[in-house]
Amino acid sequence: MTPKTTPPFTIEPERYELTAPASYVFQSDRREFFKFLGAGIFIACAVSKAQAFQESRGARRNPEDSLPQEISAWLHIGEDGTVTVFTGKVEVGQNIRTSLTQAVAEELKTPAASIRLVMGDTQLVPFDMGTFGSRTTPIMNLQLRRVSSAARNVLLAMAAKQWNVDPARLLAQDGKIADPQTKRSLSYAQLVRGQQIAQVVPAEDPLIPPREWTIAGQPLPKIAGRDFVTGKHRYPSDQTLPGMFYGKVVRPSAFNATLVSANTTEAEKLPGTVVVRDGNFLGVAAPASAIAEKAASLIRAEWRADPQPSNKELFEYLKQNQLPRGEHNDNSRFESGNVDAVLASATRQLQQTYNVNYIAHAPLEPRAALAQWSDDQLTVWTGTQRPFGVRSELATAFHLPEEKIHVLMPDMGSGYGGKHSGECAVEAARLARAAKRPVKLVWTREEEFTWAYFRPAGVIDVRSAVGDDGKITAWEFHNYNSGAAGMRTYYEVPNQRIEFHPVNSPLRQGSYRALAATANHFAREVHMDEIAHSLKMDPLDFRLKNLQEERLRAVFAEGAKHFGWAGTKAANHGFGLGGGYEKLGYVATFVEIAVDRSSGDIKILRIFTAFDCGAIVNPDGLRNQLIGANIMGIGGALFEAVEFENGRVLNNMFSKYRVPRFSDIPPLDAFLIDRKDEPPVGAGEAPIVGVAPAISNAIFNATGIRLRSLPLAPLLVPHGLRLS
């Protein structure tokens, strides 16, 4: 049996969600819940069938399940007043444990400290596709507010019945129901005692509007922050079980290599060591990690691999290795008006090509899993953004029904879209089955840089026409391989052709923070700058002239005002901007750079971002995510690129792959537009997309040198320039 180490990834979350084997299994019915959690109030949220379909793709395996299949979240109030909330979303550093807690506290009118979130435990939480695509805030936040609001109404009704009064005159506040007229109050614990109330709520209950929020909308520090500054929190790689062994995988010589032979004799002589050879999988388990490493190093394996392309010929390769485009991908092609005719007759035209390299997520915690078998039941603690997806992978790999597999996801050391898959879980489980005891496997940094997947590289061809009045008349945009996310233009253009071209990728590729939107915004926003320059127009004025979307205009305008776009600029300084619409958020990023003409040093002086993600749930957490996305964007903009050759990654260590460090961080600031009249949406991804074009445009503004490929820093060298 070969472990499924390379799931069939395509590049868009929207796409590979379709291929993910979605399931819809409830391990616990309501009665079991009360048995597990004790008496109390149990509220489940039923979303519309359409939304359930969207989140689960409808592919249910257990039609006999005891709960409605549209259940997306549930909540329990125990006899001590403790609120336990169950969600399939997971905490990976984006601080949704905190922001979702705030949402519950707000609607339920109870202190955040009395709320506990159970996240990503496949045996306890409703099915969830995974934590990606900035969906937690627009979807899960809303659903948790609904169950909480329903729970509040149940509590109000219980108190009203007890006092024999109209519930409308009662108030829920601070974990109590109070009657302002009689000054009586009952705590939630008092009300819940001895009760067993279960309700499934429709998704239409009215919610507290953001303008009236008192707990949501305010900064709340990270839940259990103290456990993180004292080292107490146990990440996936910190999990242990008594008697566990340590795993080590012997990796192939190159991507897609086949195992020809393996001499494991010397390895098997080491104390306690178990060697597993199963198809292309070769690994060891041993009582100590040092022994496992030694055993792996003693194995003499012969692999056979075909010649493979290198990053030196990457962009030619992408253009030459297109795949037929699937007809079902409606969002991969868009056309309006008559692009060809307008381009054929236009006098002002521009045609350019933009490139982005593969980059690595490099989450600081590499993949880790601890697997334990008990008869044919499998339990795995692992770091993943898709616990249910990992469960599916395990079920496939071990030919087990999903009910026999339990995946738990302790709050992990980040993902950025890089931990959607379950390779490490499958490997640990395979080794544990052979070792007949729990096995922990933690990938090395080199493994993480090589055997995880990458953000897709891409080539983007843009052709445009513009009138003398500064109005864009035609826009043709072809993205090869990097993906369709954020590909459509938000500028008003009557004649458009926008197309995504899938490619037989030379590397395994998958999701990433904002995924293809970074490449597509880079190409679009640099091209906009190029047109503006050709017209001798101010780049901001040119954008606004072609933009009607009011919220996007607002972030451009507010950002420009706070940045000082119209202000005077010192000699040898450059201003640049880039912005757009991504994952329901509106963003505009402004950059100032300085060039030292004598040394050739280029320095980023400041980055300023204006952002609108609807009503703000936690301004402190939002700022952390926004600045973090900006900083992550600096890496991909300036120096990150995966170097590879013949099926091997050449820069698979932090000493060879440069990520942003303290010296790379300019002053960053942001202006947050709090739209209380709009629903809250996600914020972890959108603020990355404006960074690269804004930097490139600022470099052009200061030097006249146009850089059209990411990363930018290597392109400066031939011009006698370098980043300082």
Binding site: V92, V229, T230, G231, K232, D238, L364, T444, G628, F654
Partner: protein, 158 residues
């Protein structure tokens, strides 16, 4: 395998290990002190930073024999009972973490810096923290937390 003794967080810890084993492995695997993290194994990311005789060291690069006879402090040994170290307190107050996987290493590097330099400048902080990677991009808050910790420490000394 060698019988060895280490002074960790003020306690004598005895264990058997190959003396070339990285200190980080001993801490995590044999002493169950998992607050120090593995992030790269080549001393490049700082996640494994501990104090050896008060100075920040990358424990993934220190063979355990080299730590014998020295005072080792890990993140677990920084607080005094319930009283957080001022650097821990400052990180909490500034919200200087996201996934927080880098946080213990950041805090240990910052403690080492503040042991040597009471009121570090921005440039001194940058140099001292350059070897610690934060992938979530929390750098500005970490710098703010170190400034705050310097103030808290000065208050404690006064």
């Amino acid at each position: 395998m060698d019988e060895m003794t280490l002074q960790v967080n003020g306690q004598q810890c005895q264990f058997a290990a190959d003396k070339e084993t990285p200190l980080l492995t001993v801490l995590r695997e044999l002493l169950d002190l998992t607050g120090s993290k593995y992030g790269c194994g080549e001393g490049q990311c700082g996640s494994c930073t501990v104090l050896i005789d008060g100075k920040a060291r990358r424990s993934c690069m220190v063979p355990v024999w080299a730590a014998v006879g020295k005072q080792i402090t890990t993140i677990e040994g920084l607080a005094q009972g319930d009283q957080l170290h001022p650097v821990q307190q400052a990180f909490l107050e500034e919200g200087a973490m996201q996934c927080a996987f880098c946080t213990s290493g950041m805090i240990m590097s910052a403690v080492s810096l503040l042991n040597a330099t009471r009121n570090p400048s921005e440039a001194e902080i940058q140099v001292a923290m350059q070897g610690n990677i934060c992938r979530c991009g929390t750098h500005p808050r970490i710098i703010a937390a170190i400034h705050k910790a310097a103030t808290l420490l000065q208050g404690a000394r006064a």
